[in-house]
Symmetry: C2
Subunit: 145 residues, 2 copies
DNA sequence: CTATATGCAAATAGTTTGCACGGAT
DNA sequence: ATCCGTGCAAACTATTTGCATATAG
């Protein structure tokens, strides 16, 4: 659920920035709103959408802020084979489902512990984290209405 | 096992190229040998190593050939969070284990069908493929000799 | 008020392309 | 003789940086 104030600003984003030692500037809020709107957005997407909402927001500000927010772990970069890099607001751990037909990228929450455990048993390594993407044909593309 | 001829060329690479409609030029063979040597190499790695073995091999040739070999599916690009892109010679399906301590990247063969099946059951999507990376502390870093 | 963020322009880095030459079939 | 690959330079794209000004807290 999103709480939005009179100016159309998503309040939780202000908190999010402040909790991570970043000032809640209109530019940063605009970038976060854009990411929220898109779910996953490339730099190009962000640039295009923002230029409408906020025409003076410069490209270097987008770069600088994405990097800052990545460093503060508010935002994460999603790298997919044969695609440009995407950005998303960091949220609960999830895997990505990329439809090879329509291109849609979906998040899906699922436990991956079984696989990590198997890796640990078989290799002797300690698993810290995983990054998992499935190429799929999504439900909608399988049986269009 | 690698079969190497008198000139130090890995014979299987010649076949590999010819089977994919690419001429077996010294430049391409050199790039493949370098990838073999490294397992996983960034463009920078490739450039550095190649400039010793083959000083006249130009950067545009590296780019052009990597792209050609990716298109022919001889080589694949490995995208890892917070790292430059790596290239590897395409081989049996595997996951990547990236040690967060020493940086080493290892391939590991493991069945991932259970997870794909669960995704299919829970989402209704058809899973075609998966790309999986584990961040780990590798065995060697866990208990150095 | 002060430190930080922004916009702009310039600098740097990364990648692709055009073209003339050279080598393999 | 023809085709394809290469090297080099130039073009193009992507990203970062320096600096003067503006703004959040």
């Amino acid at each position: 659920m999103l709480i939005i104030n009179k100016k159309g600003i998503i309040l939780s984003h202000i908190k999010l920035l402040k909790n991570h030692e970043l000032k809640a500037t209109p530019q940063r809020l605009c970038i976060l709103d854009t990411l929220d709107e898109c779910g996953h957005a490339t730099l190009e997407d962000i640039q295009k959408i923002i230029s409408k909402k906020f025409p003076t927001l410069s490209l270097s500000t987008i770069y600088r802020n994405l990097n800052d927010m990545i460093n503060q772990e508010i935002v994460s970069e999603v790298k997919l084979a044969n695609k440009k890099d995407y950005f998303e607001i960091k949220k609960e751990k999830h895997v990505h489902l990329v439809c090879k037909k329509c291109g849609k990228i979906e998040d899906f929450k699922i436990k991956t512990d079984d696989l990590s455990k198997k890796i640990e048993e078989l290799t002797g390594d300690k698993v810290l984290d995983d990054t998992i993407t499935f190429d799929v044909i999504c439900k909608d593309c399988l049986s269009p209405k």
